[in-house]
Symmetry: C2
Subunit: 340 residues, 2 copies
DNA sequence: GGATGCATTGTTAGCGATAACAAGCTCCGC
DNA sequence: GCGGAGCTTGTTATCGCTAACAATGCATCC
């Protein structure tokens, strides 16, 4: 009996037990073709018996690449980014990759570059950057181009491999639904203008109005918070001509609903409201919120596929995938009030 | 000119440029004491000139430990876990650690053990497990005990290094506030009973009622979702004797508010409501929600400190930290309606 | 002035895996 | 029966770093 702390078994231990060389063990582990079936089984048995697990650091050292995928995302509890992160981890784990997260406080060039560097230190096999603002793309311009990279929510003109959600299409659907309900026009509470998502949603809204020949009211500038929706709502609630509002996300819609309620304007009787994101709680707003759902898991899945293809050199590093959002109809939308 | 892909510089390159041995470079990098100041500067200059960055895989291989911290958490977009994760990344990054996330679909023994193993493969320096349910603790029982480990939200009786929020204290505060407002008793919509958080909140609620000599109504069992709060609300709304409700989280409170509103019961005039978590939107519920805030960043900070202390052997691996939550008063609480 | 000690630096050996090459074996065709 | 092809396996070098030990120089002490 050896009482020393049991060192976890290495490849040579397996080799000894199976009566082969460590190299043969390596071949079995990496599914090399030219190993006799009988040998393979013997090695497998030895691996199981010892509870051997390969040392990823050693592998990374010699191959120059790890089984790690880095994700750079904004450190936020916003529903969108958080969901995306969760979905991505899930997908990566299924593909046998670990996920290292480098969150940044702000989406400026310096922060992003720092997070990217930290990941490169870890010799990540690939990198996913959630880059919803222009400044994030800036940081990627001076990335070394031998690292597989996929951008989420970035600028189609500047990114190579990219997955985005068609924000404009979602916004168009929302706006069209309101117009179809009989509203003369639709107001919009926007997100921060430097976010691509926000810009896309505003564009979709505007183009739908223009296509329908409806008047385009001024954008009410907000950011993603409920507070900004509330502030917008306090203004809009006092304007009787406002009968339909499309907000850039659900949290804004929540704030808007509260402001409308405080001013005695009923939803959807007096004002119809549509949000964006379909947060789990949207169904329980007062009233239940009609909104646009983004399929975050589809985004994550697509992103991972693009990345893995690059890692294994199966695909050119330039491909762009667009995911379509879907409208979820609930009771916050109705016809405009009867004209008095 | 050499046109081959430029291999990123290694320690020997730095050593050659600085005119020292690679070992001296290593000493400079690891802040060993016995290096002459002048030499240190020369090495630093060479590092800067070459843009040298140490290879973490090589270091991990030889030391048997990486600059990686593993986090095991449930793959969820619940506000609590997501916030905790974000706060933790932030804190770890500041300490120079990368964070690898292993999310699990369900909190059962097998899933957790799997996630832990994947992290051990990566030779993580330490492990943080967010273990809000008993089954998660089970999985940790057969963890090798030479890996630094901190549990968040686990069972004090079974964990060594542990950070928790004093759920019971928060619940007591909430309940006492309602009693002080004049309510004869307080009803409770609970979380899933196998979550420690949920159990702690229920305990605090019950003990506050008992201490005040108030009647203890039956617990309305829910889970964390707004849907369960809504379901509970539809029942409670029909019971005129219910004038105060404490829900186990804010999302449930949202659902409850909607159910009350649908039944024409006004908040806080007819019913007072208190939630738990203080999600950013709580301020914009109808009406603004009184709730209990957990300081997630404090939890993360404390957890990381415990872990780093273990990693550097500065502290015994057994210490428990309890973070106190704070009550955030808003307008969803008022005196009970006048008895008719 | 030689022994002692400390600060500073270099040398060598490995960590655990993969890659490149070499070697043995079997099978085949002529 | 012999050479070559192809399958299977082993040997050796190597990735970039840290640990352990060795070696050097210089100040200090008796």
């Amino acid at each position: 009996m050896d009482l020393r702390a049991v060192r976890s078994p290495a490849m040579t231990d397996v080799a000894k037990l199976a009566g082969v060389s460590h190299q043969t063990v390596s071949r079995v582990l990496n599914d090399h073709p030219n190993v006799r079936e009988q040998t393979r089984l013997r090695v497998r048995a030895a691996i199981a018996e010892l509870g051997y697990r390969p040392n990823s650091a050693a592998r990374a050292l010699v191959t120059g690449r790890s089984q790690l995928i880095g994700i750079v995302a904004q450190n936020s509890t916003l529903y969108g980014p958080a969901s995306l992160l969760a979905a991505f981890e899930q997908a990566a784990a299924e593909a046998g990759f670990a996920v290292s997260v480098g969150s940044v406080g702000r989406m400026d060039r310096e922060s992003i570059a720092g997070a990217v560097e930290r990941h490169l230190d870890q010799r990540v096999a690939g990198l996913v950057v959630i880059a919803p603002v222009a400044s994030a793309d800036d940081a990627l311009d001076d990335m070394p181009d031998d690292v597989p990279l996929v951008t989420i929510d970035g600028d189609p003109a500047r990114s190579r491999a990219l997955v985005t959600v068609d924000q404009a299409a979602g916004a168009r659907q929302a706006t069209e639904l309101l117009l179809a309900a009989g509203h003369r026009t639709v107001w919009h509470v926007s997100g921060p203008p430097d976010w691509y998502d926000a810009a896309g949603r505003a564009d979709g809204w505007r183009s739908a109005l223009e296509a329908a020949g409806a008047e385009v009211p001024p954008v009410v500038a907000g950011e993603w918070s409920a507070a900004s929706g509330y502030a917008a709502g306090r203004m809009l609630a006092r304007m009787p001509e406002v009968t339909a509002v499309f907000t850039a996300n659900d949290h804004q819609a929540l704030g808007l609903l509260r402001a409308l309620s405080e001013h005695g304007r009923r939803v959807p009787d007096d004002v119809s409201v549509i949000g964006f994101d379909d947060v789990p709680e949207a169904e329980f707003f007062i009233p239940p919120l009609t909104t646009v759902r983004q399929a975050f898991d589809a985004v994550a899945q697509a992103g991972l596929e693009l990345l893995l293809a690059q890692i294994s050199d199966e695909a050119p590093p330039a491909e762009q995938i667009v995911i379509a959002p879907t409208l979820v109809a609930r009771s916050s939308v109705g016809p405009p009030p009867h004209r008095v």
